[in-house]
Amino acid sequence: MSLARALESRNQVIFSVYELFIAIRHLRSRRRQTILSILGIGLAVMILMVSQASMVGFTEELYKKTVDNMPHVTVEPKSDEDYIYLYRSLAYDIREIEGVTGASPVLSGQATFAYKDTSRNVLMQGILVKEHNTVLHTEKDITEGSFRDLEVTHKSVILGDSLSEKLDVKVGDTLDATFPEAKPTTLKVVGIYDSGTPQDETLAYVPLSTAQHFFDNSNVANSILVRVEDPDYAQPIADEIDAVGYQASSWMETNPEILQMIMIEGLSNFIILGMIIVIASFSMVSTLFMVVMEKTKEIGMLMAMGVPRRSILTIFLLEGGIMGLIGPVVGVLAGIVVSLYLGSITMDIGEEAYGGVSTFPFVVRTKDAVMIVIFTFLLNLVAGIFPARRASRLDPVEAISSE
């Protein structure tokens, strides 16, 4: 049964004309206190809104810098196997899962790269270029050469910029790859990438077939990297793959510190700002208590005129509700303006920040604005019950003869 119908069936409306009439007149007659109460709530809400916008901006930036650049789900061999043997069909099946936007089988392992008299230990990752690009957008990090050449050139390699500097190789050079128990080979450098992360020094991409040949293990992969549409839903997808027997872990499991960071930030934000709003509501409630005291005679007279106690309650709930609604609406609007202004300035929070997040935008989400207004409104409405109940429980004779 809908609320409207429920109220109708009790033959009542939420409030009547005269209740609203009296509530508004009370607020208007004490204009200064009313405005101060509204501003108090508004200010608290504004701070909450700005802080929320910066939180969301920070989170989005953190996602962009980290989660966006990592596989959302990593699928590894069944627990009693060393490799994924049917990686093609498994990758195909994974792509069929709703919410998955890409699946890339890879075969990676240690290798030693040598060029002239320098050598380096690297993580060699055999990939299928097209598939890999749907998962990690590595192509956009390419600074020299071409990612696509990895596909067309047999025995080719793409290195991170730091690694290429260390080895002193350029696009077009050929280096030697060796490792105990591996088949030594030569690799032609077809590209350099710069992801801005530490892997630039250690990770080298080769075609999947080259890796399989090098590790002497054709037709296997040791993981499948998966990208999903909404990273927040990586876990259920990982669970689904897990259920088939493969060991799948979401980015939340492989990088728990990212979520921890967001949670800690969000929680401390919520606690501090929640308290500010509670304080603002307190001041609104104390204003209402003062109104009730000041209006005691009038309340008695209203009762004598036949206003039921329920309506007295409603009148004061309306007063609290009106302040408690205008306050957050004004606050949210002000918060949006401030957020947009602050967002137009580049904020530098230093390089130490997690994941290389050094600047971040203020992101105003309608969802947040609406939630904040509703939350504050309800809080004020509930807080207003106390003074309203005091008013509705007055004894009419005592109230009328009170000084």
Partner: protein, 229 residues
């Protein structure tokens, strides 16, 4: 109970206080007829206001019953009681007790709005009432812009707005000079004759009391005299 009795009070007792008990009303019995214009007199502390508040359903008796227009108000629900206060009763106090944030016409409209009457109709009715008490001009003034006598007229218009069957006044001229008091009484008498409403007025003023049809004397919570003039 006969149809012409609007109020029937039986064995009404009101005791105040938890420790030291004060018997404000002591076994009061009386009937008041429809359209009566009567006064309650007595020394200070004799229980006049207490009796009036009982009749006005603002207070509840310790024992005894009060029947208003056939309804036993001591057994009525809170909802019925407030409905009766709104529709059957009009209150006028010593001090006007107008709502300070509302102007004269809005104050008179209030009982009508509480009664669920549409604002436009309520305004028209309130305006008529104000004209009837001789305040047709200054309807948009707030209580603080009006004199004591004018405010008391607004309070009378408000008390009569819903055409209640019973109008009760507790020393309603106590704050006014004798000339204004007299005018107010004449106004009430006129309204009583025109609308056949029952008026119960508590007063200290012997002269005023003499002008009513019936005087009830209270001493120590007991009726000591009941004379018709």
């Amino acid at each position: 109970m006969s149809e012409k009795n609007i109020i029937q009070i039986t064995d009404l007792t009101k005791v105040y206080g938890d420790g030291v008990k004060i018997k404000a009303l002591d076994n009061v019995n009386m009937t008041i007829g429809r359209g009566e214009f009567m006064a309650i007199v007595g020394p200070s502390g004799s229980g006049k206001s207490t009796l009036l508040n009982m009749i006005g359903i603002l207070d509840t008796p310790t024992s005894g019953t009060i029947t208003l227009d056939g309804v036993d108000i001591t057994k009525a629900s809170e909802k019925e009681r407030s409905k009766m206060r709104n529709q059957k009763l009009g209150f006028i106090f010593q001090y006007h007790h107008l709502l300070p944030d509302f102007n004269a016409v809005e104050n008179v409209m209030m009982p009508l709005l509480i009664n669920g009457i549409k604002p436009t109709n309520a305004r028209a009715k309130a305006h008529t009432m104000l004209k009837e008490v001789g305040l047709g001009e200054r309807i948009n003034h707030k209580p603080r812009q009006l004199s004591g006598g004018e405010n008391q007229r607004v309070a009378i218009a408000r008390a009569l707005a819903n055409s209640p069957e019973i109008v009760i006044g507790d020393e309603l001229t106590g704050n006014l000079d004798s000339k204004t008091s007299e005018k107010i009484y004449e106004l009430l008498r006129k309204l009583n004759r025109e609308h056949n409403q029952t008026f119960i007025l508590v007063t200290h003023d012997e002269q005023m009391a003499e002008k009513t049809e019936r005087i009830i004397g209270l001493v120590d919570g007991k009726i000591t005299e009941d004379k018709s003039t």
